[in-house]
C-alpha cells in the first residue's frame, strides 16, 4: 500500500513538472501576429472575462478564415485581480505578444496598462472603462465608453427627455466603474440643474439587501432611479422594488445589458427599464445577427456587450494592421507606433457603433443608443 502511494505521488509530481514545462516557450509558426489579453476567466467576474475571450475568438476565427493576415489569440486568467493580471501579462510577454487586448475589467487593466506602456506594446481594452486606464499613456486605447462619457451622457439624456423630476442614485462604492459613472453623472446633473434627492451606496459584501436604499429613494419621492452598476445587482434591486410596491422609472448604463438573458429572470420586472448601451443582441442589422448566431452555436448562450466589444477590438486591430501594413516579423514596438498612428486617424464601423473614432487620450467616441425594455426585448428610444 505504501509503495502504491509513493508511486502515485511520483506520478503526480512528474505530471506537474511536465505541465509546468509545457507552458514554456511554445511559439507557433512565424507568420501569425500574436494578440494577447488578460481577463477574469475564473472567479466572481468570470462571466465578463469569458464573454470577452469568446467574442475575440470568433473574430479571430473569421479573420483567419479570410486568408491573408493571420492572428493567434491567447487569453490568460487574471481572476479580476490586479496582481494576478501583471503575472498573466508576463506570461503573455514570454510568449512574445505583439499586440495586447489589455485586461477585461478596470482594476486589472490599470495595472497591465502601466506594463504595456513601459514595454511599448499597443493595447486596446474591450471593456475597462475608467479614465485611469488610459490616463497619461499614449498607447492605451478603449473600445467601450469611458465612465465619464457614460455618466454625463446619461445625465444629458435624462435632462433632455425630461424623464424625471426627482432623481435617486444607487451606486456600488467599491467598484471603480460604478463610482466613476456616479461622479460624472452628479457633476453633469449639477450643471443641468437635475434634482438629485437621494444618493445611497452598497458594496460587494452587502450586495443582497437593498431595502434601505430603496426606502430612502421612495421616501424622498424619487420618480427616477439611476443605477450605474452591473445587471446582477440591478436584478435584485428591481425585484425588491417591486416587492415594496415602488415603481419609479429605472435608468441603467451599459452594465445593465445582460439582464434579459439572466437565467430564470422574470423579464416583466425589467419592463420599462431604460439604458444607454452601445450593443444590443436583439438588433436586426446583419453584423449583429451573424455574430449572435455564431456565438449561440459555439457557446450556447447569447453574447453580451463584453463579447461584442472584444469582437470589435480584434476587427479594429485587423483594420489598423492592414492599413498600416503590419507584418508578423515586426517587433511589438514597431507595431505600437503604427497602431497609434492608425487608431488616432481611422474611422471604424463595428457591432458597437458606426463611425467610431479615437482621441489621442485613447478614449473612443461613439454615440450611445437609448434603449427601453418592452415586452422582454430592447426597443430603441429615439
Amino acid at each position: 500500500m505504501k509503495k502504491m502511494k509513493k508511486l502515485v505521488c511520483f506520478g503526480l509530481i512528474s505530471a506537474m513538472m511536465l505541465s509546468a514545462f509545457a507552458g514554456c516557450g511554445k511559439k507557433s509558426g512565424s507568420d501569425v501576429i500574436r494578440i494577447g489579453g488578460t481577463g477574469p476567466l475564473t472567479g466572481g467576474a468570470a462571466v465578463y472575462g469569458n464573454a470577452a475571450k469568446r467574442g475575440a475568438e470568433i473574430a479571430v476565427e473569421e479573420i483567419n478564415a479570410l486568408g491573408g493576415m493571420q492572428f493567434e489569440l491567447r487569453y490568460e486568467d487574471d481572476t479580476h485581480d490586479a496582481e494576478k493580471a501583471v503575472n498573466a501579462y508576463n506570461i503573455l510577454k514570454d510568449w512574445e505578444v505583439q499586440i495586447s487586448l489589455g485586461s477585461v475589467t478596470t482594476n486589472p487593466c490599470i495595472a497591465t496598462a502601466a506594463e504595456t506602456y513601459a514595454d511599448r506594446i499597443f493595447a486596446l481594452t474591450p471593456s475597462a472603462s475608467s479614465t485611469d486606464v488610459t490616463k497619461g499613456k499614449d498607447n492605451m486605447f478603449q473600445m467601450c465608453f469611458s465612465d465619464p462619457n457614460q455618466g454625463s451622457a446619461s445625465a444629458q439624456y435624462i435632462s433632455e427627455k425630461a424623464l424625471g423630476t426627482k432623481i435617486a442614485i444607487i451606486y456600488k462604492n467599491d467598484d471603480a466603474y460604478s463610482t466613476g459613472i456616479f461622479e460624472t453623472f452628479t457633476d453633469k446633473a449639477d450643471e443641468l440643474g437635475i434634482n438629485v434627492v437621494s444618493t445611497t451606496t452598497f458594496n460587494t459584501d452587502s450586495q443582497n439587501d437593498f431595502s434601505v436604499q430603496l426606502s430612502d429613494a421612495k421616501n424622498a419621492g424619487a420618480d427616477l432611479v439611476f443605477l450605474p452598476m452591473y445587471y446582477e445587482a440591478a436584478a435584485l434591486i428591481l425585484d425588491q422594488a417591486k416587492k415594496m410596491n415602488y415603481a419609479p422609472k429605472f435608468f441603467g448604463v451599459d452594465g445593465m445589458d445582460g439582464i434579459l438573458t439572466l437565467e430564470g429572470f422574470d423579464t416583466t420586472l425589467a419592463e420599462g427599464v431604460m439604458l444607454l448601451t452601445p450593443f444590443s443582441a436583439d438588433a436586426t442589422d446583419e453584423k449583429t445577427v451573424n455574430f449572435v448566431k455564431k456565438y449561440n452555436e459555439k457557446y450556447n448562450e447569447t453574447p453580451n456587450q463584453f463579447a461584442a466589444d472584444a469582437y470589435d477590438c480584434v476587427y479594429a486591430i485587423y483594420e489598423a494592421c492592414q492599413k498600416g501594413e503590419v507584418t508578423s516579423d515586426m517587433t511589438a514596438e514597431e507595431i505600437c507606433d503604427i497602431m497609434i498612428a492608425q487608431f488616432t486617424t481611422m474611422k471604424f464601423d463595428g457591432l458597437t457603433g458606426n463611425g467610431m473614432t479615437w482621441g489621442k487620450n485613447g478614449e473612443v467616441s461613439k454615440s450611445p443608443k437609448g434603449m427601453v425594455i418592452q415586452n422582454g426585448v430592447y426597443v430603441g428610444l429615439d
Binding site: N208, S215, D216, E232, A235
Partner: protein, 292 residues
C-alpha cells in the same frame, strides 16, 4: 413607521444569517472545527434546488428534499476525504483545509454550472403580508423565522435527549474519553456533518428565495456574515446563533439607514468587537476552561 419598517427589514436579513449560523454553530459545537466550506455547501444546495424547480419544473418540495439529500451526501464526503485524515492534526491545519475546500467547491461549481448568474425562483412565492401602510413582511421572512425556530428547538432536543445527541456532546467534550466509553467518534462526527449540511441545503434555498441571485460565490459572503453572527451569539450555542443572526441583521440595517450606507459593514464589525471585548464568549456562550 420608518423605524418599524427598518426593524422588519433587519429581521428579514437577520433571519437569513440566523439560519446559516445554526449550521455553522452546530458543527463547531460538536466537531470543534470551523467549517468554512459551510457557505459553499449552501450554494450547492441552492443550485440543486434551482435546477429541480426552474429547469425541470419540479415542485418546490422535491427540490428542497433532493437538495438536502445531495448536501448531506456532500457533507459526509467532504468530512471523510478532507477532514477525517486530519483528526489528529492541529486546528490550524483543519482550518486551512476548510478554506481550501471552500475554494474547491466554488471553482467546481463554476466549472459545472458556469459563472453566469441565475435567478432563483422563490420556493414560498413572492407575496407577503401588508401589516399597515408602509409595513410589509414577505412570506420568505415569515417562513425563514419559523424554520429557524423549528430547527433550533429540534437541534436542542436532539442533542439534549437522544442517544446520538448525547454521543455528540460527549465527543465535543472529550473525544478520547468518548471513545473509551464505546462511542464511535468517527461515525458521530460524520453524522454531525450530515445534519449540518442538510441544514445548509435548507439555508441555501431560503437565502436564494429571499435574495434570488445565484452564482458560485453566492454562499461565501453570507457564510462569513453568518459566522460572525454565530460568534456574536456565542459559537457553539444553538439559541445564540438565532439571536446573534437576528441582531446582526438589525444592526446592519440600522447602520445603513441611520448612519451611512457606505460604512455599514464597518459598524457591524465594530459592534462585534465591542461585544467580544465585554463578553469574550459571545452573548450566550459558555465559558469553557481550557484543559491543561
Amino acid at each position: 413607521m420608518e423605524f418599524l419598517s427598518n426593524v422588519i427589514n433587519g429581521i428579514s436579513l437577520g433571519s437569513i444569517y440566523a439560519i446559516i449560523a445554526l449550521g455553522y454553530t452546530m458543527v463547531y459545537g460538536i466537531a470543534k472545527m470551523l467549517n468554512f466550506a459551510h457557505g459553499d455547501v449552501i450554494m450547492v444546495g441552492a443550485y440543486v434546488c434551482f435546477f429541480m424547480t426552474s429547469r425541470y419544473n419540479m415542485p418546490a418540495v422535491v427540490g428542497i428534499l433532493l437538495s438536502m439529500f445531495v448536501c448531506t451526501v456532500l457533507g459526509i464526503v467532504i468530512e471523510r476525504l478532507a477532514y477525517k485524515p486530519l483528526r489528529q492534526a492541529t486546528s490550524l491545519a483543519v482550518l486551512i483545509t476548510a478554506i481550501g475546500m471552500s475554494y474547491f467547491l466554488q471553482n467546481g461549481a463554476q466549472l459545472l454550472w458556469t459563472s453566469n448568474p441565475k435567478v432563483f425562483k422563490s420556493v414560498v412565492g413572492d407575496g407577503g403580508v401588508q401589516l399597515t401602510e408602509g409595513l410589509y413582511v414577505s412570506h420568505v421572512t415569515l417562513v425563514t423565522i419559523a424554520v429557524c425556530v423549528i430547527i433550533m428547538i429540534a437541534l436542542t432536543v436532539f442533542t439534549g435527549k437522544s442517544k446520538m445527541g448525547k454521543a455528540m456532546r460527549a465527543c465535543s467534550e472529550d473525544k478520547g474519553a468518548a471513545q473509551l466509553m464505546g462511542i464511535n467518534v468517527n461515525t458521530t462526527i460524520s453524522i454531525t456533518f450530515a445534519i449540518g449540511s442538510a441544514l445548509a441545503a435548507i439555508a441555501g434555498v431560503l437565502l436564494c428565495s429571499a435574495y434570488p441571485n445565484l452564482v458560485p460565490t453566492t454562499g461565501s459572503m453570507p457564510g462569513i456574515k453568518a459566522f460572525t453572527a454565530a460568534v456574536f451569539g456565542g459559537i457553539g450555542s444553538i439559541p445564540g446563533a438565532l439571536i446573534g443572526g437576528i441582531l446582526l441583521g438589525i444592526i446592519e440595517i440600522f447602520a445603513k439607514a441611520y448612519i451611512s450606507t457606505e460604512i455599514s459593514d464597518a459598524i457591524v464589525f465594530a459592534v462585534l468587537i465591542v461585544v467580544l471585548l465585554v463578553k469574550p464568549t459571545g452573548l450566550l456562550g459558555k465559558k469553557i476552561s481550557e484543559k491543561v
